[in-house]
């Protein structure tokens, strides 16, 4: 059985269908880019797979865990133990510095460890910016803090929703290089939503959505 199974997932907002019976399987360690035009349901799908939103029907199974059948507290355990998230907006806590933002993820996971958090930030090239607040960091730097935060607890799967959506080409490349490097080191699964063809080419597999359905599912060379 595949590591991640999307089983006939549907999502309705009132009468409007965002996902129409979508199914797919992802093996462990694969980098999957989810792409499609605006409104095709790619962010909705990512949120549902990542346990941040619930489907109207269907199920998502990750590592044999039916995540939408889990009680709320166990779903929280899934998020902190198995998943890491990066969003288009950085969503860093504004009153905490870069180091503390990473340590907050450690705190909810188990225990904050300053040294480990420092190492993670050094790994993403922010060794000199540990004590800067989000407002003192550039967009690219903020996203690198988010990568460090998402990966600090060694997640099995990384969910990234337009992580380079607010960045220029140079910063986009820096972030993607970094993700590629970390992915090859840690071998975690990546599900990355993007509408940018430049980003799409970085993954191993492309799931193209249109109108809430999978239009194309192809492996990338």
């Amino acid at each position: 059985m595949s590591y991640l199974v999307i089983d006939n997932v549907e999502k309705y907002y009132g009468l409007t269908a965002a996902l129409r019976g979508l199914s797919a399987e992802v093996p462990k360690g694969q980098w999957v880019n989810i792409t499609g035009p605006s409104g095709s349901g790619k962010s909705t799908l990512l949120n549902i797979i990542g346990g941040l939103d619930s489907p109207s029907s269907g199920e998502v199974i990750i590592d044999s865990l039916k995540i939408h059948s889990l009680p709320e507290d166990e779903l929280a355990v899934f998020r902190r133990e198995k998943a890491g998230y990066i969003f288009q907006q950085s969503y860093l806590i504004p009153y905490l510095n870069a180091l503390e933002n990473v340590m907050l993820a450690q705190y909810f996971h188990s225990m904050a460890d300053r040294k480990e958090a420092e190492e993670a930030l050094k790994k993403v090239g922010l060794g000199q910016r540990l004590f800067h607040r989000p407002s003192q960091l550039s967009g690219g730097e903020q996203q690198r803090v988010c990568i460090a935060r998402a990966l600090i607890n060694n997640p099995e799967v990384l969910f990234a929703d337009e992580p380079t959506g607010n960045l220029d080409r140079d910063n986009t490349k820096v972030i993607l290089d970094l993700l590629r490097e970390l992915h090859s080191e840690e071998q975690f699964t990546i599900l990355l939503v993007t509408h940018d063809p430049f980003v799409t080419n970085w993954g191993q597999r492309i799931l193209s959505l249109e109108d809430g359905r999978i239009k194309k599912d192809e492996l990338h060379a």
Binding site: L52, E72, D73, A76, L104, A105, Y107
Partner: protein, 364 residues
């Protein structure tokens, strides 16, 4: 260890958001100060009102349960009982004057005078000077300054009428003698017919029971007319305090609730990201409750100090005095600060926690 980090992140949230935290404390302090000021003033007013009620006179009457006279010592014992503000002895008997039988009362003229009784003529100041009830003035055709003879069981004594009293009660048809004169005329040898006491109006029944249990062979009764008039006044006063406090509290919770609601919406991304990082709703709820507890605590203390100072100023300018603020006002202020802060934050945080992280982060 986990607690250490909880305190660390909490302290960062408070210290790095000084402006917001200051505003939260300020709004709690404002609400608490109004309530603390109101309670302080009214508590002082109640004390003042208690003093103002003294002219109503005694509200408890103590007599022998065996129909005998009481020892003068009873006054001292009653005065020593907690809650008793004043006590004095009285004697009653029927005496004869110009062939008529009249009720004579022996009492303390100074207390009668302090009670604001109206008299025609002068207050007795020497031995064998008496006051006569106004109704007897015409009935017996007597005048102030005249001498009359009162007799009791063969014992006669001449008295000078110094004035007439009009109180609207039974005194208006009685002869009023000093306690010593009456004991001499009635042959009581220092004994008393009854002791009239004044107890704290708010705890009258409790005081009545205490006197009855601490003294032997006595019957203690409430003078209903006085007690009920006082109680009604004080009860109205207390209801007023309660109602105004409830209205102020409600207004405070609503206004702070809307402010907190706006702050929680402003911090929704923080809640969303905490959920995405794997925090349980309980953990997030604890974090915001702890914040509310601290701001409520600080607001409660600040509110008490400000309220106390305002109450001081208002009382001084309006009533000329400012009594001791009861200790409980501080605890009420502190509790209200914490309560207002926690209740105001409870619903917005709760409603946010019910949502999925994606919905919170989207800001729907």
């Amino acid at each position: 260890m986990k607690q250490k980090w909880f305190i660390f992140f909490l302290s960062r949230s408070l210290s790095e958001r000084k402006g917001r935290v200051f505003l939260s404390i300020l709004s709690v302090a404002l609400a608490v100060s109004v309530i603390a000021c109101f309670i302080s003033i009214t508590a002082g007013l109640q004390e003042k009102l208690g003093a103002e009620l003294k002219p109503y006179g005694a509200n408890l009457i103590i007599s022998s349960s065996k129909g005998e006279y009481l020892d003068a010592d009873v006054i001292r014992k009653v005065t020593g009982i907690q809650g008793v503000e004043d006590a004095s002895g009285q004697t009653y008997s029927i005496v004869e004057i110009q062939g008529h039988a009249v009720e004579a009362v022996g009492l303390d003229f100074e207390r009668l005078k302090a009670g604001g009784s109206r008299i025609e003529g002068k207050w007795p100041s020497k031995k064998y000077e008496i006051l006569t009830g106004i109704n007897l003035k015409n009935a017996l055709k007597i005048k102030a300054g005249e001498e009359i003879i009162l007799s009791k069981e063969g014992h006669e004594q001449k008295y000078l009428i110094s004035g007439f009293i009009e109180k609207g009660g039974s005194e208006d048809s009685s002869m009023l003698l000093s306690l010593e004169d009456s004991q001499e005329l009635f042959g009581l040898n220092g004994k008393l017919s009854a002791v009239l006491a004044r107890g704290n109006s708010l705890r009258l029944e409790e005081i009545r029971k205490r006197i009855a249990s601490e003294l032997q062979d006595v019957s203690v009764k409430t003078i209903k007319q006085v007690a009920s008039a006082e109680m009604s006044l004080l009860t109205k006063m207390q209801s007023l305090i309660l109602m105004v406090t409830a209205v102020l509290l409600f207004a405070a919770v609503i206004s702070i609730g809307s402010t907190t609601g706006a702050t929680v919406i402003e911090r929704r991304q923080e809640i969303g990201i905490m959920k995405a990082l794997g925090a349980t709703s309980k953990e997030i709820d604890h974090f915001y409750k702890a914040e509310a507890l601290i701001t409520g605590f600080a607001g409660g203390i600040a509110g008490f100090i400000v309220g106390y100072l305002i109450a001081h100023l208002v009382s001084r300018s309006a009533f000329g005095t400012f009594g001791q603020v009861p200790w409980y006002v501080f605890f009420i202020s502190l509790s209200l600060g914490v309560l207002i802060s926690i209740v105001a934050g409870y619903f917005p945080v709760r409603s946010m926690l019910r949502l999925n992280p994606a919905v919170i982060l989207r800001g729907d």
